[in-house]
Amino acid sequence: MVTVGIPKGLLFPKYHVFTSAFFDELGAQTVSSPDTNKTILDLGTKYCVDDACLSIKVFHGHVAWLKDCCDFLFVPRIMGFKEREFICPMFCGLPEMLRHNITGLPHLIDTPLASLQNDKLYTWAKNVGYRITHDKTVIKRAFNRAMQEQSQFCPGINDTNYGQKIALLGHTYHIHDAFINMDLIQKMNDAGFGIITEEHVPASDKEAAVKRLFKKPFWSFFADYYGAAIHLYQTSAVDGFIYLSSFACGIDSILIELIKSETGEFPFLIIKLDEHTGEAGINTRLEAFLDLMKRRTHDDRYDSQPGEHQYCGKSVV
């Protein structure tokens, strides 16, 4: 039985349900790296070029950790979520970066994926599946099961039973990696703040909010984060924003400015992460920010009643 290694970095929190079901049905065994930890981060900084952003380094760490215990490594080359949209140059060139930065890698499964439309995704899945089995019906079955499981899964967070609510903006891999964001979510919950992430804002609301831009954004992340932030701001659904960003991220550098320019004095905390970020500094800034929030009063709640958990309608993969 072949073993497929799935690194727990980048968009893993969004697609892991899909991949484990897909490879399982294909008859492959999957192994993923542990949650990011010090060893993984150190491996990443060791192998990756210095100029890359933190998340790319962390991904290098996961790959280095996995490389000797699998036959294939799954490194999705995601070009964009929609036709003529892109996500980030680093994603497009990720497999090459890995190949040239780390020696002795197993085969990479790196078929490019340019759109999440069903038919495009299926073509992609056929391509990937073929590396494991040549049986077309098995691939088809695996794809259907993976899609089905994925559709019931929402990677976002929407806490409802807290006093105040904050929109946590930024890349999925910053929000869901408790090691690199130093348990930010837990800390906020402990302080009595609930969180909502971009996935819980309906696509139509995001699109409406993006319309105000001069130009249709061609970064998929851009449309999602900007749209969500502006919508939540306009509907007074949250008390403030926290943006988890990383140094050297080109997308964040533009996005943060554009959101800020729309929201004026609205409470907005930007936390920048890199491998040298100290926890003490973040704690102080977070506490100061949350204190400020507590002093502000507000009335409107975004969506549901206390205690209710909401699922978003849209599936990511």
Partner: protein, 372 residues
């Protein structure tokens, strides 16, 4: 309407010819210097890439002088460049609320109608006749083509000149005179004269100068200020340098892209190392380094702004090319803090080692392991 544009190497000279020919009032951007960058950085987000900041500096200076419309060629490529205008508009309209932006994007992305509408905005403010417009556009095209040719030739011949500095001085006075012309016909004449003069520079072909390719992020390599005038420095060291990415290359690339017949040689060369287009000019960077190696050049210098995403990908790949092909490549990362002295030392050390490698024929891995 008074138009202005950002500086981009020779483009500003060609744009001047165009505006003169179209009879559109304009303000040319100041030549970039440290103050341009300082003002630009002041009004830009801290982490944005260098070209953005320099462009902001250009705009602000031109607005102060009375410009009210900014003409900018956008792109919907997967890099920040494509989102530049959105943010620049936001930032600059705070500075001047009635500022207008005309962004020329590819018709593929914004639709033919929007594209023509935007072109028409420029058209409307031109008082030239149809025929004059056409000839202005042709003249501008020839201007940029010839300028790029002169540039390339001068950079190449600098390695062979008998009298040191001849090429550099000629290039200087060519650009000075061309910028001083106030109509496209006169400018073309000046350029053609200089093209001839360049052929008359006494050369010594028995010299065998070092040959170095300049590769990397397009803005930083085209706009001399942002690369701390590397090409001039190489001329001073009597090195022949070659750079494929030029404004005329860019024009050709953009027009041929929809037909998918752009930059075939570069893409073909890059295929083994970077098979997909990653945005910016990352693939070009990889392809050019391989082409330079195939054409027996001595080495390549990659220039990129700090945190430039496509170039970071290229930078990961270049060491493999260096190792596998025994082809020396140095990367210079540029940001506002970069000190000129440290930069010069690195270039000199690199050239010394190229010289040494050539003389002794040892592998680059061996030369570069010496302490410099």
């Amino acid at each position: 309407m008074i138009v202005t544009i950002p500086n981009l190497g020779n483009i500003s000279i060609a744009a001047k010819a165009l505006f003169d020919g179209l009879k559109i009032p304009y303000i040319m951007p100041e030549v970039n210097h440290n103050d341009t960058l300082k003002i630009g950085s002041f009004y830009s987000p801290e982490e944005i890439c260098l070209p953005f900041k320099i462009m902001m500096g250009n705009y602000i200076r031109s607005i102060e002088k009375g410009a009210d419309t900014i003409l900018f060629a956008g792109s919907c490529g997967p890099c920040r460049f494509g989102e530049y205008c959105e943010l620049q508009m936001k930032l600059l309209t705070k500075f001047k609320p009635d500022l207008r932006f005309i962004v020329i994007d590819s018709p593929l992305d914004i639709g033919k109608k929007a594209f023509l509408k935007r072109l028409n905005e420029i058209n409307l403010s031109s008082s030239a006749s149809r025929k004059e417009k056409l000839s202005a556009m042709l003249a501008a095209y020839h201007t940029i083509r010839i300028l790029d040719q002169i540039d390339a030739k001068a950079h190449e011949l600098a390695g062979y000149e008998r009298e040191k500095g001849a090429c550099k001085n000629l290039l200087y006075s060519c650009k000075r005179e061309a910028s001083a012309c106030d109509n496209p016909v006169q400018m073309l004449k000046v350029l053609n004269d200089y093209k001839k003069k360049l052929r008359q520079i006494p050369l010594d072909y028995s010299k065998n100068p070092l040959k170095v390719a300049i590769i990397g992020e397009i803005y930083t390599i085209i706009e001399p200020f942002s690369n701390l005038y590397i090409e001039e420095k190489l001329m001073d060291y009597s090195v022949s340098s070659k750079r494929t990415l030029t404004p005329s290359w860019w024009l050709k690339d953009t027009f041929l892209k929809p037909l998918k017949i752009n930059s075939l040689a570069i893409n073909h060369a890059a295929k083994k190392y970077l098979p997909y287009k990653i945005g910016g000019h990352g693939r070009e960077c990889v392809g050019e380094s391989l082409l330079a190696q195939q054409s027996q050049m001595d080495g390549a210098i990659q220039i990129m702004p700090l945190a430039c995403m496509p170039e970071v990908v290229a930078k990961s790949i270049l060491p493999s090319i260096q190792r596998e092909k025994d082809f020396p490549i140095m990367t210079l990362v540029i940001d506002e803090m970069v000190g000129e002295a440290g930069y010069l030392t690195r270039i000199e050390a690199f050239l010394d080692m190229l010289e040494y490698k050539r003389k002794t024929g040892v592998k680059w891995a061996v030369c570069s392991s010496f302490p410099s």
